[in-house]
């Protein structure tokens, strides 16, 4: 049975223990997550987000105008099966480097070896319409007619920019509408097999390869699926499949 340990409780225990120890300083590791962004081998940040000309797996040449995405429910599970859940969620805006880091409010964790997983978007329990003031203020909402809640991804750009007729695409991901009034959860759980050893304050790099959104397992043809995609059930489920290969672990620094 999975053992869930409240990080807040852990923090209180540590404080309580520290009161009994006069001469020894115990450093409790703190964890920070740092997202870096790539288009295959091309590093992407705010300085080149809108200037790179990129080619997707299907051969369309594209430029990017904006990418924002939501992740949540970060968990680290140790070899004993104990899971530490970090409260909070993270809206990353590639035009703002300051949003690339995620330091949970309570981010201490015992030393050990862990596996990481997090949720792409919000899971069913978290994806409640209109309840997050900061996300509402960012106009991050997903229309009620499509199931409500929040966007998971907003990826806007132009494709066929190497031709005389570039066209817009709006690769937006969220709850999938099966039919009028019938909706299907569309979040994804991102897991990593590689173990992470934590013995001190640790920054875990999570690499996002944007090109994978168009690549695996569904080779995305923007000429067919450009916009609108939000009400398109098949497109939404294809995005959910493709997101699974977008993230990988990068460097862990301590």
């Amino acid at each position: 049975m999975k053992k869930i340990v409240s990080l807040l409780t852990l923090a209180l225990l540590i404080i309580a223990c520290n009161e009994d120890i006069d001469d020894t300083t115990i450093t409790i590791p703190e964890v920070t997550f740092n997202f870096t962004h790539h288009w295959d081998s091309t590093f992407i940040n705010s300085t080149n987000l809108e200037t790179e000309t990129l080619t997707n797996a299907n051969g369309e040449v594209i430029t990017i105008n904006r990418i924002r995405y939501l992740t949540s429910h970060f968990e680290l599970t140790n070899l004993a099966g104990e899971t530490y859940i970090f409260e909070g969620y993270k809206l990353t805006d590639l035009s703002d480097d300051a949003t690339y880091n995620f330091t949970p409010v309570v981010n201490t964790i015992p030393s050990g070896t862990y596996n990481l997983k997090f949720v792409w978007g919000f899971n069913a329990d978290d994806n409640t319409d209109g309840i997050y003031q900061d996300l509402n203020s960012e106009s991050w909402n997903w229309p009620a007619m499509l199931g409500g809640g929040y966007h998971f991804l907003q990826f806007d750009g132009m494709y066929n920019v190497d031709t005389a007729n570039p066209s817009p695409f709006n690769f937006h991901n969220g709850t999938a509408r099966v039919s009028d009034g019938v909706f299907e959860d569309n979040f994804a759980v991102i897991t990593f097999d590689a173990p992470i050893t934590i013995s001190n304050n640790t920054t875990i790099e999570i690499k996002m390869n944007i090109a994978e959104l168009f690549k695996n397992p569904n080779t995305w043809d923007l000429n067919v699926l450009d916009t609108p995609l939000m009400p398109n059930y098949d497109a939404q489920k294809m995005m959910q499949q493709n997101i699974l290969s977008v993230f990988s672990l990068g460097e862990t620094t301590q």
């Binding site: 105008n65 203020s137 960012e138 106009s139 007619m145 907003q154 806007d156 709006n170 937006h172 609108p228």
Partner: protein, 356 residues
């Protein structure tokens, strides 16, 4: 011990200061002003931006209101902030371009003023070049085509020599010495009180009224990515600001005579972008767009429906630009317009606190 002469001097100075009898004004402490934040905003949005360096007081807001409506800020005492930001027009100008003291029109439409404390990036003007409301208010006073002063010094002198303003500044800010910084602080305080949150749609969101069928249809078009798709830039029922306050090229021109945000950032990718205005109070804020080119709301809807123009920095959210726009049918246009008008707030333009 080597500092004893300094201590002695300080004691003498303090004694001398104490020997002057305090007047009531010397000890006056301004009364904090409590913003009346609509319940819907409290529920849906993060807190408004109120700088710690300029918290609202009853005296500061009242002073700011008086300054906002006072022609004293213009070079020839003929114009005030309110000359181009009229309360009955949700604090914009019904003219396409405002004429300042010279009578020469500017080149952009006056922006409406409401819910400014919820402009979270704190960038003002159509191109966002002023950071903070206090800095924004510095400019019109010395703009040749607005209030027409060469500099702030003569305005500061006029105010300092006024028979009432020094006392009002003393009560609001604790000093009779009037500076441009204090003038714009007061105006910014007043502007932050200009809250509009009582439209028919707000009342619908609060559960106190129903929308008409046409308004409901219009909301559906607004929120439908296959039809209006207005919500990506202009808010939604969970973001009752009805703007993202971000900068977009919404397909007005193929080339740009006014670079907008691009002139501020220096980034060619930002050329032709302007800040999304709120869709609140559209009933009072014609004409529309940064240059006031559209006289009516129908013109605006027709623009997004069939009038989009492609350009190098067109926002991809103008998804059907290659077809001229989202091609709404006449019924959809009428429904959308009905919904948009439900965002107007008569109680805002008639609020006695906001009128001279």
């Amino acid at each position: 011990m080597k500092f004893w002469p300094l201590y002695s001097l300080l004691c003498v100075m303090l004694f001398n200061c104490d020997s002057k009898e305090d007047t009531p004004e010397d000890n006056y402490i301004p009364i904090p002003y409590q913003l009346e934040i609509p319940v819907l905003f409290q529920t849906k949005l993060i807190d408004p931006i109120i700088p710690l360096s300029n918290t609202l007081t009853i005296e500061g807001v009242a002073l700011g209101k008086r300054l906002f409506f006072d022609n004293i800020l213009s070079v020839n005492n003929t114009k005030a902030c309110a000359s181009c930001h009229l309360p009955q027009n949700a604090f914009t100008d019904p003219n396409q371009f405002s004429s300042g003291v010279t009578g020469i029109p500017g080149n952009r439409n006056s922006m409406p003023l409401f819910n400014l404390a919820w402009n979270f990036d704190d960038k003002y003007f159509w191109d966002g070049h002023a950071l903070g409301l206090e800095n924004q208010a510095l400019e019109p006073v010395i703009d040749a085509n607005e209030l027409g002063n060469d500099s702030w010094e003569p305005i500061e002198a006029k105010l300092n020599n006024h028979d009432q303003y020094p006392l009002l500044f003393k009560q609001a800010f604790g000093t009779e010495t009037i500076t441009r910084q204090l003038v714009t602080k007061a105006i910014a305080q007043f502007e932050r009180t200009l809250i509009s949150g009582n439209s028919k749609f707000d009342q619908f969101s609060n559960g106190t009224v129903n929308l008409t069928t046409q308004e409901e249809n219009g909301l559906a078009i607004f929120m439908d990515e296959e039809r209006g798709d207005c919500f990506h830039c202009h808010g939604n029922p969970n973001n009752p600001l009805w703007t993202d306050n971000q900068f977009h090229n919404n397909g007005l021109d193929a080339t740009f005579t006014d670079l907008g945000f691009g002139a501020v950032t220096g980034n060619p990718n930002d050329n032709g972008k302007f800040r999304s205005p709120s869709l609140r109070n559209l009933a009072y804020t014609a004409p529309y767009m940064h240059d006031g080119r559209f006289a009516t709301l129908d013109d605006v809807i027709n623009h997004y429906s069939t009038g989009l123009t492609n350009s190098s920095t067109i926002d991809p959210l103008m998804k059907k630009v290659n077809q001229g726009g989202v091609n709404l049918n006449p019924q959809d246009k009428a429904d959308l317009k009905a919904f948009l008008l439900s965002l107007s707030d008569p109680s805002f333009i008639n609020n006695p606190d906001f009128i001279q």
